[in-house]
Symmetry: C2
Subunit: 271 residues, 2 copies
């Protein structure tokens, strides 16, 4: 069985891409012709996926955009669509789950059994024992929040304990304690490029999922300079809104393709 | 409009109870006669609710038990059942959500618009700006993880920054920065009773949701001594498995009632 980590490394190589596209379809922002359809989110995603699949290494649907409007079924169909048509592209379910053991088992089942995602994002605040039920799925990826991209992320993540910010404590444990099955990644925001450099030093070749390029304003060249591994990979550069809403007209899919191709080119120029 | 905080205070008084019952129905643990029904979780919950409603101040369904098996509809029906039949009892959706602004808005919509919960649990790791979209629902409650009940909760929550554990930084911000609309509560595990005492000092009369009595082994008298406010309220003592699985036979509802009544009596003896 191919593990998430192997699938991701293969995808980086064969796709020649570090670009991850976030599938966060907000009904209010969809093109008018789609908005009225009962499965508008899925139809939108399908067109976005078909248009961008040549330029991406992975997709990352954010579950809240589906669960807020009782559209879990469209999330299931979206993931299935990728796995049937683009089986080489891993799907990361962005859910930022976390809870005590028995409940974490249920969340892991949600992500890996129900939705069949290749990886899921999780929140480390409750401690490593609450991540164990996810990590036991050794063929799946578990991507732990470390330093997030939002303006207030430093409020706790930057607090220093033993001369070291909390985010680095998370990175250090991810690298030395939790990664027994080599199935961990970390979320580090493009908006904190110095942190990408420091965290890369702590975690070696571990995959880093990098939100914050695009709408949030992170600087691509600095992110790559600070985050690439020696093999010039190691990063999932995520873009959501700036790709999927590149146009709000009927040309949304072509515009998303153009944007994805363009960003992938930019990324590869700086590699 | 009655806010969550007002509804909770009224419930504490009129129900003469600080007991919150967690509705975490695991299909594997349900009585055999229910297990085969297509809406087994809802049928189980309905019997548990009817049996325990006299002894509780609130209910707390944990969403993962529903989403893991595509049973969101049964969660909706459970919450609606409480709100129609026991409108004086607040419903806390235990979801431990958290994400950057636009996504947090979707999670808030999931909890408050889709499920119509009176309150939701959230994770503070990403910082106060990520809690704002929840807090803007000023009539709803936002219950922030502070010191959780699991054995490994200290891994980050106990790290000390500026001579003060991270959990206390969370409590301090909850009390002084985030509680503009008086709609915040905190999760503090019964398994760390000294922390309940210290956090109570930081947050004054703020409601504390206390998991960890029952199966997890927290000590009730110490929890009450350390956590009660001057008005002898302020606590939501949560029990899930030890009440809802008090019996695995066809007498599960009566057994749950007996257990809830008994625990409520114990709680009130120590108040």
């Amino acid at each position: 069985m191919t593990t998430f980590t192997e699938k991701l490394r293969q995808s980086w190589r064969t796709q020649n891409s570090l670009l991850c596209v976030g599938l966060d379809p907000d009904l209010q922002k969809l093109p008018a012709k789609l908005r009225k359809q009962p499965d508008a989110l899925f139809q939108f995603n399908r067109e976005i996926i078909d248009a961008t699949a040549s330029w991406t290494c992975a997709y990352k649907p954010q579950i809240a955009y589906y669960s807020a409007i009782s559209a879990e079924n469209q999330l299931e169909r979206t993931i299935e669509y990728i796995q049937v048509n683009y089986p080489h592209l891993p799907v990361i379910l962005d859910a930022k789950r976390g809870d005590i053991g028995p409940t974490a088992q249920m969340y892991a089942r949600e992500a890996f059994v129900r939705y069949r995602a290749d990886a899921v994002t999780v929140n480390p605040y409750m401690g490593g024992d609450t991540l164990a039920p996810f990590l036991q799925y050794t063929d799946k990826g578990v991507i732990v929040l470390c330093r997030t991209s939002n303006p207030g992320s430093g409020e706790f993540q930057e607090l220093r304990a033993d001369h070291c910010p909390i985010a680095h404590h998370v990175a250090e444990r991810a690298a030395t304690k939790w990664n027994v099955h080599n199935n961990i990644g970390l979320v580090v925001g493009a908006t904190y490029p110095d942190e990408i450099r420091l965290i890369r030093k702590i975690v070696g070749d571990m995959p880093l999922l990098i939100p914050g390029i695009g709408t949030q304003g992170g600087d691509l060249p600095t992110v790559l300079e600070n985050g690439l591994t020696k093999a010039k990979t190691g990063l999932l550069i995520n873009l959501s809104r700036s790709v999927i809403y590149a146009s709000s007209g009927s040309d949304f899919a072509e515009s998303a393709a153009r944007e994805a191709k363009n960003i992938n080119l930019q990324i590869n120029q700086y590699r």
